[in-house]
């Protein structure tokens, strides 16, 4: 026993070293599976606050660029609205019915504006931290969009901050479709260039053209249908030859991301739930 104590006293730094290394390795390997690890990432209050201050300062210098982009986007959207209303008016005679239908799908979603406080693009698994959290009504698995297109899905949430799993992450998996064609597939990113991603599982019999727009499909409740993802640059055969693989140019500029919107779909989920409850209660009465 005495020998053992002597040994420990002399080599205590080795013991400490082994304990610390084991601790860091446990954190390293468990982080990806450990949902409660908000404390060990930039979603915790202290680091979130520091990043928030620094991004406030950075934001100030980026304002001109952001303004330009917004103006451009605004012009583009205005033109689009103009052409679309024109075509609609030509096709439909009943304009009141038309207007009431047009705004229906958007009413189900609440948009929570948020600021990006920390962002990476140079790794294989990138994460984005935003300055809104559980207290602002953000929950896990909500969709996140920017003015230019889809960004990602909320992954971890703390009280005031949350971490987003963006498209630029090997784990990202967003259902999308080719606008106006209806065929759908899954958006993946394989590392490397930050403006290129792939859409897998497009069926072989699908008809589409290069430079067609890829948008979200709306099959899951995460994103509403029609949020822009990007446009098709190349078409490849998948490795098993059963489907097409589309090389897509992403419309979101991830390296220059400041303002994003989190899509709150609880209203829709709630509506579905209450509908369900109503049908159930009627059934009980009938029985």
């Amino acid at each position: 026993m005495k020998n053992l104590l002597d040994f420990l006293a002399r080599y205590n730094h080795w013991l400490l070293f082994i304990i610390l290394e084991v601790a860091s390795f446990v954190l390293l390997f468990q982080f990806n599976n450990y949902q409660g690890s908000v404390w060990f990432t930039s979603a915790n209050a202290v680091s979130g606050k520091v990043f928030e201050i620094s991004s406030h300062i950075e934001q100030f210098f980026a304002l001109t660029k952001v303004n330009q982009e917004l103006t451009q986007r605004n012009l583009q959207l205005e033109q689009q609205v103009q052409t679309l209303t024109n075509t609609l008016q030509q096709r439909a005679s009943d304009s009141i019915l038309l207007k009431s239908r047009q705004f229906q799908p958007l009413a189900n979603y609440r948009l929570i504006p948020a600021k990006v406080v920390s962002n990476t693009v140079n790794r294989r698994d990138n994460f984005i931290t935003i300055d809104k959290g559980a207290q602002d009504g953000i929950k896990k698995d909500m969709g996140v969009v920017s003015g230019n297109g889809v960004v990602g899905i909320v992954y971890l949430v703390s009280d005031h901050y949350s971490i987003i799993l963006p498209v630029l992450n090997s784990q990202s998996n967003i259902s999308c479709t080719i606008r106006g064609r209806g065929y759908f597939g899954y958006l993946h990113w394989t590392g490397g260039a930050i403006h290129l991603a792939y859409v897998d599982d497009i069926p072989r019999h699908a008809h589409f053209k290069l430079y067609d727009q890829v948008v979200t499909s709306g099959y899951s409740s995460v994103f509403p249908p029609g949020v822009i993802v990007g446009k098709i640059l190349h078409v490849y055969n998948s490795s098993d030859g059963l489907s097409y693989r589309l090389n897509v140019k992403l419309s979101t500029d991830f390296a220059n991301l400041r303002d994003v919107c989190v899509i709150d779909n609880t209203a829709m989920a709630e509506r579905i739930r209450i509908m369900q409850a109503a049908t159930d209660s009627i059934k009980e009465r009938e029985e």
Partner: protein
């Protein structure tokens, strides 16, 4: 004594802020990121208690990890540096020098200090990027990251050291 402790704590905070707010965003040629915080462990005095070095380097690594979302990576590799810094320093110190000498260009001599820095930083970058690319191994990218970051960090440390000397 008190003065040195305060200075060390200030340096600790300053290094973290500089690393997190500025240096983490630099990716020269797409791979070279300066990891300046290793300088804090590198400059530890001779005969500083070894358990203290280990705890300090572990804490420093943990804080850096917290800010850059690389849980465990800097923690593990910086703790290793905390272990090997004292024996490595013993090799480089000249004979009959002070018991609590702080490694610098003045105390070690320019050549020895440069060599010491390169060795420590290289081992650190090697560990750091090996741990970081654990599940996605790309030889070329890994070599580029280790090489580029080592050179960048060493140059940065030497430049700062040189400025301080004057």
């Amino acid at each position: 004594m008190n003065n040195t402790v305060t200075r060390r704590i200030l340096l600790f905070v300053l290094l973290i802020l500089v690393q997190v707010l500025i240096l983490n965003h630099i990716h020269l040629f797409g791979y070279a990121t300066p990891l300046l915080y290793v300088a804090f462990v590198l400059k530890t005095r001779r005969n500083f208690p070894r358990w203290a070095i280990l705890l300090i380097s572990f804490t420093l690594g943990a804080i850096i990890d917290l800010f850059s979302n690389t849980t465990g990576v800097a923690m593990g590799s910086l703790t290793l540096i905390g272990l090997i810094q004292p024996p490595l320093l013993e090799i480089f110190v000249p004979r009959d020098s002070a018991e609590d000498l702080e490694p610098s260009m003045k105390t070690l001599g320019v050549n020895k200090f440069i060599f010491f820095t390169i060795l420590i930083v290289f081992i650190f970058c090697l560990c750091f990027f090996t741990l970081e690319t654990f599940n996605f191994f790309n030889w070329i990218k890994w070599l580029e990251c280790v090489g580029g970051s080592t050179v960048f960090t060493v140059v940065l440390i030497l430049v700062l050291e040189n400025m301080r000397k004057r």
